[in-house]
Amino acid sequence: MKATLAVLNELERQGIVHRYAIGGAMAAMFYVEPTVTYDMHIFVVLPTSSGLLTLTPIYDALRQRGYEPEGECIVIEGVPVQFLPAYNPLVEEALEQARLVDVEGVATRVLPLEHLIAMAAQTGRLKDRARVQLLMDEGSVNTVRLADICGRHGLSVPSQEETP
């Protein structure tokens, strides 16, 4: 994990990505109880030259370091990592406001709690809705901030319910 994050920091330092942050279940784990997951979602701001968003430079750089793709992920130091470009204004804002955290001495970024909730609500699959509920129930949510984010991005503010 530490080695995986160090590789991601190196990609950013070299300008292969402009900025990255941990999202998905691995990010949710910063705020709530751990739940099982097998991959790490990394949201990235990519350098754009032609207006096209492509992950090819990331994959090329990682292949040169000996890391191989596996399905939709690329395995970095034992951890399957899925790169996801910032695909809409909500995700761009989440990346911009990502929190700096320390994982075993390695600095990294994680998407803010309220943005994670908004992004899960926006995606709206069953597992995303379950994550919204978990984050709302356990995650010490700043409801004013969440309402502001949802309002600006045209989303309904998720309600807080007790879950067994």
Partner: protein, 100 residues
Amino acid sequence: MTELPAAMQEALAAKQRRRRALAALPYADKLRILLRLQQVRDAIGETRGATARAWPIDVTTLFPSGMASLQEDAPAPPPDLVPPEPPREGTPPTDCHSHA
């Protein structure tokens, strides 16, 4: 809605307390739990022929600095790598470059 019996309410409240205690753990400890959850799920999956997917790393690989989160006398991380208190509203993010 029908009110639950007191014993059931207490059981649910205890479950909630457990969840909140787990949520409050350091991230490194949560990663240890995640690895164990992956192994448990794999063990179940293998009984019906599913491929194992747990990360091929163990606790010592996860915490090569000597399982710092498990040792009281473990060295603290360098001060410039310690993030500030969890930022709330209006706190600007700090750039990762200067810390990585």
